[in-house]
Amino acid sequence: MNAVMARLIGARVAVCVLSLLIVSGLVFIATSLLPGDVTQEILGQSATPEAVEGLRRALNLDRPAPVRYLEWLGGLLTGDPGISLVNRLPVAEMIASRLPNSLLLAGMAAAFCVPAALFLGITSAIWRGSAYDRVVNTATVTTVSVPEFLVATLAVLIFAVHLRWLPAMSYASKIESVGQLLRSFALPVATLSCVVMAQMTRMTRAALLTVLDTPYIEMAVLKGARPMRVVLLHALPNAVGPIANAVAFSLSYLVGGAIIVEIIFSYPGIARLMVDAVATRDMPLVQACAMIFSAAYLVLVLVADLCAILSNPRLRYR
């Protein structure tokens, strides 16, 4: 680790924090500028103006927006994103009960996708132009282009309804064995993986192909290196940055995919919590969920950036 790298890494982290701050502002503005009064929503049409006013004060809605923003931001930083407007539970508690479920789903999908996609991407780059490459390419193009809800409903139709191999509802009340766990997660994980994997495969292949077109790869071939050696020893180390980027970018699709999957499979994750919160205009909950998703994305991108910096010998050895 040298000074230049430390500075670069510091700058990346700073940009990440700054982005998160801007996101918080955007989220706050978007959710505060919404028309319609939450208090009216909560108390119903028949509420007296005094009751509405009282609730407004209780919810701190009578104070100017910048003050509320700063308070909310302070709350976020200290781990207290506020109280749900709808069921008066602390938002932190509600999220804490759902977040592990979502992480489990995303983790399982990632654990399956990343190795599979890297394998497919790298092998199809090695055998570029071959029948294998064309098959992989066609499959990924198709998958990327098909909506997730279609994949999910088809999966339910085939595996749960017709074949009765797997449960359609993913979250059985009690899971007693690993086999059961795998069975109950198979469909949602597969659905979630489809799009992510296709995207990641395509990006990995493209990243590797860029490197395979360089003069030093030609040089390795002319030195008599076999194709496997050329790819593994010469090309891959130089493609770490772009590939990390591809993985991070594709994994961020897990978030968007999660909404559809959690709803179709009635999975009690954080995405569904947010969809419900949006429906009931439970703004503290919406804000907190949005911040979690955005932070997850930013951390992924940051990790990819750091991989790129750390894998660059020009920066590592000055």
């Binding site: 989220v27 978007a30 809800f149 949006v278 949005a290």
Partner: protein
């Protein structure tokens, strides 16, 4: 002196050679574009006309694509729906690309603080998942066509901006732009005349890619019930409302889904086979 002119390269015809799969993509996309314009006038029935006696009927001579859950003609509903799925996505993507390219060009050619500010804010936008953002906006402002178009345009502007900016930064570093600067050209001229014409193809490709994303997002929203609202229906809502026919494999649910898939796959094939394309249709960094 003469041999400098003797080595004239043969005049190359500037024509677009599209491969077989590209041609298929072009045909499919072209077909749906025509249907978007002409669909309602060639549809056998009105969009809401309850013409069939049977609900979720299979394909028949009378109803080539069967009937829906209320006994309406599916062929007609899909043709009417093209208007929403294709038309809406087209408008939203055009808006997003226009804004993204304009901002990206400006940021790249101008540089400095303006560039940094635009880049930071739009980068932050990218980190908000698109479906989340759409859900929030739709829940807040209601699901009207202008809200959907505006939301989708805002969601996809930053991605388009990123691409346009990085392209424009590369082009701005080329000598002919330097020559234009040395000649004393204004920023607007450099953006319009020197940089923009050289990024048409990548921007078109990006447009196609984003169009696919937009179609997927809009039909996803409709599938969730927060997109196009009844009585209007796009293909996503057609899948949603006929979901009960899924178990029996009714064409009412298969056909709109197939329509979406054909449109997006067709577009992907088309842009993947555009001439002079460098990378694959992936986002890149």
């Amino acid at each position: 002196m003469t041999n400098a002119t003797a080595d004239t390269l043969p005049r190359r015809r500037r024509r677009w050679r599209v491969s077989a799969s590209g041609t298929v993509g072009l045909a499919v996309v072209g077909f749906w574009l025509v249907m978007t314009l002409a669909g309602p006038s060639i549809a056998p029935h009105g969009s809401g006309a309850m013409v069939g006696s049977e609900i979720l009927a299979p394909m028949s001579r009378e109803f080539p694509l069967g009937t829906d859950y209320l006994g309406r003609d599916m062929l007609s509903r899909i043709l009417w729906g093209a208007r929403y799925t294709v038309g809406l996505a087209l408008i939203a993507t055009l808006l997003a690309c226009a804004m993204g390219v304009a901002l990206g060009l400006f940021a790249a050619v101008q540089g400095g603080i303006g560039d940094a500010a635009i880049s930071r804010v739009l980068d932050a936008f990218i980190s908000i998942p698109s479906k989340m953002f759409a859900l929030v906006m739709v829940a807040a402002l209601g699901s009207s066509l202008p809200v959907l178009i505006g939301t989708v345009a805002v969601i996809y502007t930053p991605g388009c901006y990123r691409l346009a900016r990085s392209m424009a930064v590369n082009i701005s570093a080329m000598d002919f732009v330097t020559v234009a600067r040395a000649r004393g050209e204004r920023t607007a001229f450099i953006m319009r005349e020197e940089v923009l014409p050289n990024m048409v193809l990548p921007v078109l490709t990006d447009f196609g890619l984003r169009f696919v994303f937009v179609v997927l997002l809009l039909s996803g929203l409709s599938f969730l019930g927060v997109g196009i609202q009844p009585p209007a229906a796009d293909w996503g809502s057609l899948v949603r409302e006929n979901l009960e026919g899924l178990r029996d494999g009714a064409p009412a649910v298969i056909m709109p889904a197939a329509a979406i898939a054909s449109l997006t796959i067709g577009m992907t094939l088309l842009i993947d086979n555009l001439p002079g394309r460098r990378r694959s249709t992936v986002e890149g960094h």
